[in-house]
Symmetry: C2
Subunit: 253 residues, 2 copies
């Protein structure tokens, strides 16, 4: 059941290792939540974040974007609507293809051993249910074609990213996503810095069926507008959700 | 316009660098033709093969599967129904991701320079039409998730394949194709040797929307049946089409 992206223009990335605002009411204006992070994330705090958000806003779509199987459990898979899994174009081979083939090999053939192997997703979930889980998990997985444009970010270091893409290459990766790899999402990630509109505009001109997300350094409605006007389907806002609710509210379109 | 694969169980791979049988009537029983090869292929002999087949069997779907942009021209793109482009799971990074992103970067941004760059597809076609060609070419491109299982083959050497996959890994790559990468075709290539049913059966159990092709060493109806019974949607028969018409006819299901 693919998600209907019409009407989704503002996405909040929630880091489950960080403090959530006591009052989640500020999420009332966002259209989708992605729960994920790289440091200090566990299946317990992931589940807690997903459940708190879902109990307050049952209709709000929630993705879990795990970095390792240690972030995932039967409960997180059941609670989240989708599992979003990045394939990093400008990362190393491991992060575009190897780990995914290894992971699917594991879930297909040795479900019991997936737990704790460090593979990107769904260890305990598979182990607890065996093969019948495969169809369910497959339906929940959403591939994201990622380009990571901030070499100093944690995201870059865990994905083996050593060079950023030029706007031409961003456009090429977007066109490849649309025409060749079938990822439903193309994600330009500036992770903590504001990257401006150039990459977004370059990618947008080739994306029709593919959803275009931009994330990184958005702290104002002006920036949100700029990115949406350049052709993104939605902006992804992270940091200020945790530490500056006023600013977060100002990023709503 | 995706191809309707129901009713397609026998595919003929035609090497345009080799002699075609004088009488193409033997293609009357096959369901689809793939035109492609690695040695001696040119855009001229590719076009000649496509046109000869199309003029004899106008309704028979014809794929061109180019190894380089030198195999492709405006005329081959117009004549063939689809351009099938392999992404080799067990090849090097170049053959799974890099060359495709580079290629789409080129066609998106410097169409005039694509000619003769050695990128996998469609040089002259793009150069002659510029950007308006991009939509057309994108619609014709069909990605194939490939696993190449014969290390001694030309296909392995040009794709940087240094290790074959175990049946478990073949299953994993199949599941990754179905659930994550969106290639419409998963192709197990034994290139010149008969690989038997084990890989096919391993892959078939995870493929639903994805078409499963097996190619390599098929010389009899018994082998065709074996492979189809193991779960392949179609067998791909190559060599004997060129050099042994009787044997070729015997591979029809």
């Amino acid at each position: 059941m693919p998600l209907d992206w019409s009407g989704i223009s503002h996405v909040t990335k929630v880091d489950p290792a960080e403090q959530l605002p006591r009052d989640l009411a500020i999420l009332g204006g966002t259209d989708l939540v992605i729960v994920g992070g790289s440091d200090g994330v566990t299946r317990e705090n992931s589940l807690d974040a997903i459940e708190r958000i879902k109990s307050r806003f049952p209709e709000l779509p929630v993705f879990q974007e795990p970095y390792s199987s240690g972030h995932v459990s039967t409960e997180t898979v059941d609670s989240a609507d989708y599992l979003s899994v990045p394939a990093v174009y400008n990362g190393d081979r491991e992060n575009f293809v190897t780990k995914h083939v290894e992971f699917f090999t594991e879930i297909g053939n040795r479900p019991d051993e997936v737990v704790g192997t460090g593979l990107p997703v769904v260890g305990e979930f598979i182990a607890s249910r065996g093969r019948e889980a495969i169809a369910e998990i497959s339906e929940k997985i959403v591939g994201e074609g990622y380009v990571i444009q901030n070499l100093d970010s944690k995201a870059a270091s865990v994905s083996g990213v050593e060079t950023t893409y030029s706007p031409d290459e961003v456009a090429g990766a977007a066109l490849a996503t649309e025409s060749f790899y079938g990822f439903p999402i193309f994600y330009i990630e500036y992770s903590g810095t504001y990257g401006g509109t150039e990459d977004v505009a370059a990618a947008a001109k080739y994306l029709d069926e593919t959803v275009l997300l931009y994330g990184g350094g958005i702290t104002s409605q002006r920036q949100t507008r700029e990115i949406l006007d350049a052709g993104a389907d939605a902006v992804v806002v992270g940091d200020c959700f945790h530490d500056d609710p006023e600013r977060f509210l100002d990023t709503l379109p």
